[in-house]
Symmetry: C2
Subunit: 170 residues, 2 copies
DNA sequence: TTGGAAAGTCAACATGACTGACATAATATC
DNA sequence: GATATTATGTCAGTCATGTTGACTTTCCAA
């Protein structure tokens, strides 16, 4: 967009970081990193009767206590049938509790119980440990770039959600 | 690692980017971005009788033509039974062909056919389009940071593989 | 020649997605 | 007040992808 740099296929710009080869490396990096990223919580979940879907539900309920089923649905991007199976077991096992909406009594607001918050902490801590190590190894400016690229990659609706929740509650 | 910056909980260093809050945002960014990252090829695969697993197989066979089943197995991190089901359909449909190893005749070396390469290009182009847009939006130095953090996040074995293949063949 | 590695196959099962159909309750609209 | 819509929950069935375990075939190498 600015400097007419050294030759690249696409034009007169300095777009060497946009070659197909660079993009393919980025794709592979996402694949390998995401696998590692989910591996630690998966290992914890293994013993329990829960899976990755439960982890995600618990994560977002923790992030935004009192969110409705519908909101969680659109954040997770799954069908209500799929989410319902997950929520049902979490409620039965006393990890999540629902409260009927005050304004709109059709809505169910979701909260973690103490027990649920405990599991969330355990899973999250495992995942954060890896993230922390990666952040530390790469340094603050790399982390900023990491976040920028991921953000640009998201679908607009979720990017909106993501940035709204940015540096949100504890 | 360098500048003794403003106060952080952890010590005298500038570790504000390592707060739990920052780490949680990174976790969510990974989750949302990965979903978007797989969405485009998934849409293409939908019509065909293939899934994400087929895409991954085709991707790595394209990256490293002639790799053995065992190598692909460890790159993908699945069981041979799981991979076999995928490979069988790809071979039956004429997207992948195997050649018996010259040195070791037990090994099967995997190659894409013309047809297979066609599908790979289609899937890959969809995925690269999103990656390209994100790279362009974020800029070269953000991309460098992105790659650094992802690399630091990988499991050591796959990081080794990844860096070995770095900017490898077309 | 025999042990073990590489590959392939069969069966059974779990998880987490999906669609479609339907029920209930509460809100919103006409 | 009747009707439509929304939010949620549930049942049933399907699919893709992963898993274990058991077993066979092929073939290299000690």
């Amino acid at each position: 967009m600015s400097e007419p740099g050294a030759g690249a296929k696409q034009g007169g710009e300095n777009l060497l970081f946009l070659t197909d080869e660079q993009l393919r490396k980025g794709i592979e990096a996402m694949f390998f990193a995401y696998r590692a990223f989910t591996a630690d919580p998966d290992r914890i979940l293994e013993g329990l009767a829960y899976g990755r879907a439960h982890h995600r539900a618990v994560h977002f309920i923790n992030r935004q206590p009192g969110l409705t089923v519908n909101t969680l649905l659109s954040v997770l991007g799954v069908t209500k049938q799929s989410l319902n199976r997950v929520l049902r077991t979490l409620i039965e096992d006393g990890l999540v509790e629902t409260r009927v909406g005050r304004k709109d009594k059709r809505e169910r607001h979701l909260y973690l119980t103490e027990k649920g918050a405990g599991l969330e902490r355990e899973l999250s801590e495992a995942q954060r440990a890896r993230m922390r190590a990666a952040y530390r190894a790469a340094g603050p400016s790399a982390v900023a770039g990491f976040r920028e690229v991921l953000e640009a990659m998201m679908d607009p609706d979720l990017r909106r959600y993501y940035t709204t929740m940015k540096d949100g509650n504890a």
